[in-house]
């Protein structure tokens, strides 16, 4: 095949994929039904591999489809299905517009040692220890973190701007959304990768995919025996070198008429570039070409970078705090264990399966999930953890368990989720307003959906909270609602292993329907 349409098809297809992935991560209104999210995610190699490892159903075996695809067509995954790949192609294009030099790649030797070391290390660490390196290097998860940390806030800022304008016209179709940023340090990993991937793709095409990405290297190994591949027809080739210069994988050695198939991501640009029609994509041998450049977008890039760098600060400033009560609470919360999201089964189980793609963080309608710093240890950085000072887990919601692509969060039916105890409530009487101020409060008990926090008589007419950990689901609404600072008078300590909560019991009230007014 020498058709120019191959490249156009690739661009169109990957653009759709990229838009879908951006959409599922920035969907702050939860408009996209979970089943579509799951379909979009089903072909992501590493999430699907982990999910298959966990549940072993054929439906979860999207990665097998990817492997078959690679056997047949080479690394088409990298150009067609990988959101990070599509994003990099877009960035390379922008790079080429800033400086034409950035689009002149030329043949380079593969970084054999680096790429196979990284692949080997990732596989070994994953098998022996857990997903920790995968978490860092899985392209889909990297993309997810970009979206959650930088993409979604930008979209919300835009939403707020539009909402503000509509608001002026008394229209409330869009609502203002308070952006609650994460802890500043958690921005470091996505930021480092943003620079690494961004810079490499801006100037060197697909170097990240061919040097660092373990999935790229792995698929490269499979593609070495692929049926369809790019080939150069020696009889037609005039060794002009244009293909090599235009190859973003820097994998065409035109002097030798060789294409390093392990690095070729099947972008099909060379077919269009070749003026001799010597390059083709097919089962055994052939060639072709074209080249374009556009206007510069330097200001746009600079603006975006400034925005990205400034974002954590903007977010921080948006995080408004509540006024402090009269006396400061004195007893430190004694949290022994972080709270991992429902469906995680146990922290250990969760930690070994989560690649920190942060889709759950993006999808959580309450914004209670945040990327962990060191709550799970160094290895669990960026994995989602519940932050009950920021928000609480909605009792009637299973969104995070539905969207998780790796099965690190098992899907839970709503009734099962309500009875999954992810943590236990602890009450610190010495911090409680009722004791320290001798005035009524009850914010915690009011918020508790199961009445695991209830009120018992205290001094005089006052009531004070009491807890029943058996029926506590660990949603953290009590902790969120508690008005004491700096330490809460009630908090949820995570369960290392999630257990079943006893269903809340309730007896029929003895009060009867009145027949007459009591006044």
């Amino acid at each position: 095949m020498r058709s120019h349409n191959l490249r156009s098809f690739r661009i169109l297809f990957s653009a759709i994929v990229l838009i879908c992935f951006i959409a599922i991560f920035i969907d702050f209104k939860n408009l996209i039904p979970t089943k579509y999210i799951n379909i979009i995610l089903s072909l992501q190699f590493i999430p699907s591999l982990l999910k298959f490892h966990n549940i072993g159903t054929l439906a979860s075996a999207g990665f097998i489809a990817v492997l078959i695809l690679t056997f047949l067509t080479g690394r088409t995954y990298c150009s067609f299905l990988c959101p990070l790949g599509a994003g990099q192609d877009l960035n390379s294009r922008i790079g080429g517009k800033i400086r034409k030099k950035f689009r002149r790649y030329g043949f380079k030797k593969p970084h054999t040692i680096i790429r196979y070391t990284l692949l080997g290390a990732t596989i070994i660490v994953t098998i022996i220890w857990g997903v920790y390196l995968l978490t860092l290097l899985d392209p889909y998860s990297i993309f997810g973190r970009f979206m959650t940390h930088f993409g979604k806030p930008v979209v919300i800022v835009l939403n707020n701007f539009v909402a503000w304008i509509l608001h002026k016209f008394d229209v409330y179709t869009l609502d203002h959304i308070t952006i609650k940023g994460f802890q500043l340090l958690t921005y470091s990993i996505p930021l480092i990768f943003l620079f690494l991937v961004g810079l490499l793709s801006l100037t060197k095409g697909r170097l990240y995919c061919n040097m660092i990405c373990p999935l790229g290297t792995l698929l490269g190994l499979f593609s070495k025996i692929s049926i369809f591949r790019i080939r150069i027809d020696e009889t037609k080739c005039t060794k002009c070198g244009r293909c090599s210069v235009g190859c973003k994988s820097s994998c065409i050695d035109f002097l030798q008429h060789k294409v390093d198939i392990s690095r070729c991501v099947d972008c099909y640009s060379c077919i269009n570039i070749c003026q001799d029609k010597a390059i083709s994509y097919g089962p055994v041998r052939l060639k072709k070409k074209e080249h374009k450049t556009d206007t510069e977008k330097r200001k746009f890039i600079a603006g975006s970078l400034i925005l990205m760098l400034g974002l954590p600060q903007i977010l921080k400033s948006q995080d408004k705090t509540t006024p402090v009560p009269k006396k400061e609470s004195t007893v430190r919360e004694n949290k022994t264990c972080p709270v991992c999201p429902p469906g995680g089964v146990s922290i250990e189980n969760f930690n070994i399966d989560c690649t920190a793609c942060s889709l759950c963080i993006a999808a959580c309608p309450n914004g209670v999930l945040v990327p962990a710093l060191l709550q799970y240890g160094v290895a669990g950085m960026m994995q989602p953890v519940m932050d009950y000072h920021k928000s609480f887990c909605t009792y009637n919601c299973t969104k995070c368990t539905e969207v998780c692509p790796t099965y690190a969060l098992h899907p839970l039916a709503l009734e099962a989720k309500k009875l999954t105890q992810i943590g236990k409530v602890n009450f610190v009487k010495d911090n409680c307003i009722v004791k320290t101020e001798k005035t009524a409060c009850g914010a915690c008990s009011e918020a508790c959906p199961t009445k695991a926090v209830f009120m018992i008589p205290y001094e005089g007419n006052l009531l004070i909270p009491e807890v029943n950990t058996e029926i506590c689901c660990g949603c953290g609404h009590c902790e969120y609602a508690c008005p004491t600072t700096p330490y809460k008078a009630i908090y949820v300590d995570g369960n290392p292993v999630h257990v079943a909560a006893r269903p809340p019991e309730n007896i029929q009230t003895e009060i009867k329907t009145p027949v007459d007014f009591p006044f």
Binding site: P325, I433, A440, K451, F519
Partner: protein, 306 residues
């Protein structure tokens, strides 16, 4: 300097109020009374929430006595919790819709509905049934989930609550109709009119940590008072309030209290719930502060059965 002014002013206001109180006419001082209102309070029993409102409001001279042509109206129900209408943690959606209809019939230009919810607001608005009901009646459903919608107000004379951030709609509308649902409450023992105001302010935590009962009463000092209070006592959560656990907490009382005096409304509601008025501290505090009359025996009450 500012503080001194404030103290002077509040002392002055206190003196004036005290003087007025000693003359006994406090309800006229504080309650926005309509010329049409023959009664201080109308209690209806035995119908649907909609039918009871139709009947009750007629006794008070119809909605036209409260809403003038071209006015903007705020209807503030309780939409605090992410539960279905049958569990009665939120105001009955049919009642909200009917009140909205009455407002439009009286010539309202625009009717707004919102609440600062406790649970996730999108879920609350949806699962309470209020969003759909109010919208179909023609009201505008407005979010209350972001601090951006709230504006600072001062409450001169407040003992603990001297300022608050209230939803802009409260300031921008001409008429305010308070539509709470009567419920048990875990710490104040009862929630209805006065406590429903926690849903128009941004920072509830401050109230909780600064003498909740006093703050609830203090807020009632704020000048923008409800022209009308409609207490939904159709399904009443008599325990495990204000959120409730299951339908075992709910008793069908098929009642409704409509009043211009929210302290009186709360006092009557407490009776419905079977709670001593004195135990609900904010009612007696508000009464003492002259914000209304909790002595039901001294009020002109119309009791209707359907």
């Amino acid at each position: 300097m500012k503080r001194r002014d404030f103290l002077k002013k509040s002392a002055g206001a206190g003196l004036a109020a005290g003087a007025a109180l000693s003359l006994g006419g406090y309800d006229k001082l504080w309650t926005p009374k309509s010329d049409f209102a023959k009664y201080d309070l109308v209690a209806v029993m035995g119908g649907t929430p909609e039918a009871m409102f139709d009947l009750g409001i007629q006794e008070l001279g119809g909605m036209g006595a409260f809403v003038q042509k071209g006015q903007k109206v705020l209807v503030k129900p309780n939409i605090g919790w992410d539960v279905i209408p049958e569990l009665a943690a939120n105001t009955n959606p049919g009642l909200v819709a009917r009140i909205v209809e009455h407002c439009f019939k009286a010539g309202a230009k625009e009717v707004y509905v919102f609440d600062h919810t406790c649970d996730n607001w999108v879920n609350c608005y949806k699962n309470s049934g209020i969003e759909k009901a109010a919208k179909s009646a023609g009201a505008k459903i407005v979010p209350g989930n972001s601090e951006n919608y709230y504006q600072q107000i001062e409450i001169p004379g407040g003992v603990r609550l001297k300022s608050a951030k209230v939803h802009e709609l409260l300031l921008e509308t001409d008429v305010f109709i308070n539509v709470p649902v009567l419920k048990d409450h875990n710490s104040t023992r009862m929630t209805a009119c006065l406590k429903n105001m926690m849903g128009v302010v941004w920072d509830r935590g401050f109230w909780h940590s600064n003498n909740l009962n006093q703050c609830i009463a203090d807020y009632a000092l704020y000048e923008k008072k409800p022209a009308l209070n409609v207490i939904d006592c159709y399904n009443v959560m008599v325990k495990n309030g204000p959120q409730g656990v299951s339908k075992e907490d709910v008793v069908q009382m098929k009642s409704q209290i409509i009043t211009t005096d929210w302290v009186a409304g709360d006092a009557a509601a407490a009776k419905m719930l079977g709670v001593e008025t004195e135990i609900v501290e904010y009612i007696s505090i508000a009464h003492r502060m002259g914000l209304g009359n909790m002595k039901l025996e001294s009020l002109n009450i119309q009791r209707l059965k359907m």
